[in-house]
């Protein structure tokens, strides 16, 4: 894993947390959507917070796809779960919500999970499919040996 690749993982984490925050704020303003007025769901995009949230989630998607091009799904997902911790900290410092002991424990568990997965290799090597995956294995050959 190079520094640049850790930056991409940081991008996945940050953009997802910021995007979700804006989306949640927008949906609170829009209010309930009922099954009987389905087309209303597309009108939610007109809400500026929802639109901004979607913009950030596009940034998330681009960095997520980049990460998946050189790392396993079961590596990328836990490695970028610090976003949940970030959401809790945003709630504490910007929205002045109370962060309870239970939440701190949740933050500790997630951080431990991130620590666990990032200690291991980022990509599974498939010796049997080596020909198809040549470019991928070449790119990560040095990293998967740990």
């Amino acid at each position: 894993m190079t520094f640049r690749k850790y930056l991409v993982l940081a991008g996945v984490t940050l953009f997802a947390a910021i995007g979700d925050t804006f989306l949640s704020r927008g949906m609170k303003q829009v209010g309930n959507i009922s099954l009987h007025s389905l087309p209303d769901i597309f009108l939610t995009i007109l809400n500026p917070w929802v639109a901004l949230g979607i913009f950030f989630l596009l940034g998330f998607f681009a960095s997520y796809m980049t990460a998946l091009s050189w790392a396993d799904l079961t590596y990328v997902l836990p490695a970028t779960s610090l976003g949940y911790v970030l959401l809790a900290l945003i709630a504490k410092f910007f929205l002045h919500e109370q962060v309870t002991t239970t939440r701190w424990l949740g933050i500790a568990l997630i951080s431990a999970g991130v620590g666990f997965v990032t200690q291991g290799p980022a990509l599974t090597r498939h010796p049997s499919h080596h020909d198809q995956q040549e470019s991928v294995s070449e790119a990560v050959g040095t990293r998967t040996q740990s």
């Binding site: 640049r4 979700d20 949640s24 949906m27 829009v30 209010g31 309930n32 959507i33 099954l35 769901i41 939610t44 997520y64 796809m65 980049t66 998946l68 091009s69 050189w70 396993d72 799904l73 079961t74 590596y75 997902l77 836990p78 779960s81 949940y84 959401l87 809790a88 309870t100 239970t102 939440r103 424990l105 949740g106 933050i107 500790a108 568990l109 997630i110 951080s111 431990a112 999970g113 991130v114 666990f116 997965v117 200690q119 291991g120 599974t124 498939h126 198809q132 995956q133 470019s135 991928v136 790119a139 990560v140």
Partner: protein, 126 residues
């Protein structure tokens, strides 16, 4: 009734986003290291190679299904229930699906990581 709607929508989010993640991951592995392709052939080559993969297009469709299911769930119940419930179940579903469909080596370390994160996400909402 609202309760059943909420959990139905959460299960739809979990199923759709797991299917989407697996398809997208498969597509991107076929595309290869995006940084390398970009440096050697340019950004348009990267976009072209990604868009030509059927599993990418199908993955996007599943992600859209997951996204709108999430919007539905959010309009019926609090984000503090919907987000952690769907996220933590998705972590576990993804570990299982990645092992079966992507043949990723989900060792003890990755199982523990997935379970710790799933548990942590639930606690965050408690």
């Amino acid at each position: 009734m609202k309760h059943a709607y909420t959990w139905g929508a959460i299960m739809a989010v979990v199923l759709a986003s797991t299917t989407g993640d697996v398809l997208l991951s498969r597509a991107m592995k076929k595309v290869g290291d995006v940084g390398q392709v970009w440096r050697s052939s340019g950004l348009m080559a990267v976009v072209g190679r990604i868009l030509r993969r059927p599993s990418f297009v199908l993955g996007i469709v599943m992600m859209a299904v997951a996204f709108f299911s999430l919007l539905f769930a959010l309009s019926w119940a609090d984000v503090s229930l919907v987000a952690p419930a769907s996220a933590s179940l998705t972590f576990i579903a993804n570990a299982i699906a990645a092992k079966i469909f992507l043949h990723e080596r989900v060792d003890h370390r990755r199982w523990i990581a997935a379970l710790l994160v799933a548990g942590g996400v639930v606690l965050l909402a408690a």
